[in-house]
Amino acid sequence: MESNVSMYRTMCLIRHYEDRMAEIYTEGKSPLFSIAAGPVPGEMHLAAGQEPVAVGVITHLRPDDAVTAPHRPHHFAIAKGVDLRRMTAEIFGRSTGLSQGKGGHMHLFDPSVHFSCSGIVGAGFPPAVGAALAFQRKGSGGVAVAFAGEGAANQGTFHESLNLAALWKAPVIFVIEDNHYAISVPKAQSTAVADNSDRARSYGIPGVSLAGNDVLAISEAAAEAIARAREGQGPTLLEIETTRFYGHFQGDAEAYLGANEKAQWRQHDPIIHFRDYLLAHHMLSLEDDAAIQEEVATVVEDAIAYARQSPEPLPADALTDVFAEI
């Protein structure tokens, strides 16, 4: 586990990254959210506001532990230690990207840190169970964590995977990131129970719900779940309430939100909250904070510059990598 200041720094890095992506995404777009223009191709799902979930859980993971993430993946990828330059180049669709421009922002793969994500809701649960099975067989003490939104908890894959993982006592942690809305549909209209953690009982595994978007509380609960998995006691389900500071995707008019809903979320910014905690407990000074902000800005700008300067792939490269050569 990282120190509190280190977790804070990762949260700031994620926030700065997402805020910069939001700016860059609109560059050269006319109309403003034209999906086919600008330096970043395709859709963009940003995770500002959701930093505590990624950082509070992944702080307990080793590089050889696996993470599967959903379509909104940047915070998880950054927390897992995916190379920021290659990740950014991938998001820009460049030849130096993680997948040489074949994957993009919803399909980031970095086997060196056992990170993958998918654009299909709920698709990451089964592969996480399988990765956990592989770790169990190796006896490496490795664990897998499947992150997904609260909308994904109504997918068959969620229920099938919880049952299978419980049967296999697989070292896997299911983390539901409840940001209140599945695109536009509020949780109360999609989910028959208030807390998805209640569903853990159906599969005979522990389930914990956490409100407050508080990285320390998340870290504490995750530590217990991950330790449990490493010790061979099987899976845990965590549901973590969080807030999405941007729309479902960049260009989402968010007409489904209440009048002050977004403003209230922003008022309870988990990074400000954590910073104030660290200041009050003398773990961080204002000077430290300024240095962190400057440092993460440098890291992000370096990654963006790397991506911008990287060449586009060659058209003929579209035809490679369908099959692995032995």
Partner: protein
Amino acid sequence: MSTITARKLTMARAISEAIGQEMARDPRVLVWGEDVGVYGGIFGATQGLYQQFGGDRIMDTPISESAFIGAAIGASAEGLRPVVELMFVDFFGVAMDQIYNHLAKNHYMSGGSVRHPMVLMTAIGGGYSDAAQHSQTLYSLFAHVPGLKVVVPSNAYDAKGLMISAIRDDNPVMYFFHKGLLGLGWMPSDDWAEVHVPEESYEIPFGQAHVVANGTDLSIITIGAMVPKAMKARDLLQRDGIAVEVIDLRTLVPLDKTTLLDTVKKTHRALIVDEDYRSFGMSGEIAAILAEEALDYLEAPVRRLALPDIPIPYSRVLEHAAIPSVEAIAHAAHAMME
């Protein structure tokens, strides 16, 4: 004189022997699926393996196809080499997202950095009145999606060698065995598929069609259970002085275009026989390749004999009318010679 003693195996035995030999050779190989354990697989493809390797490596799963096929995706990315069975190809609808959006695409979407060395095996085919939800062939559906290799053995010898190649391949392989070739006691099976199978391990490379029988007048291009039917039709046609060449494709992906083109250059007539649905599938694909690359060699239009575009009916009479029969193949070939 050959001194080899024939060791005839059913296709089901040949498949389970191949898996067992690979499991003995490579501890990363394990099997999971529905009823693959004590039962030995509903179609016998894992018979004896539970007794040999135990429940740790031959794992019965719940009826949760998305979860256990998806688990193989994660497990294969982390170093295991799973062989996963899902009983009937007709059942794949419930797990297609894991297959066509993830298993097939992850290698490409990762720029080649992620590999999924796994085999997904299933039973195909009709002929025993199991009707529309248990008799389909559907291999074309999987061949259509880039990133999956597609294997369809027609006999026990090929079944073993192709399975060993499938397990050793670093790509996802869809392995389709036809129920009517397996040699099961409770299901009609074509004796043609029960052939000599060497005990030692051997590979049959993908993308190499087999010229099962030579001929000069017409080529029947086919795969799976239609291969023995084509051979029987060949016997009938021979009596009428028509010399038929029979090509067993063995794998749809990769497809052996060279053998296809060579046979047509030799016989100048091609009849494609397919148990899958007629439209937008294997038979159309082969016909398109011949039209694109061998049109000048053809002395008659390419003909296709496949399942008409109907769900597979239940009644014996109706099903027999729907699935290409020996007589229908012979009739179609005859018509092409007139």
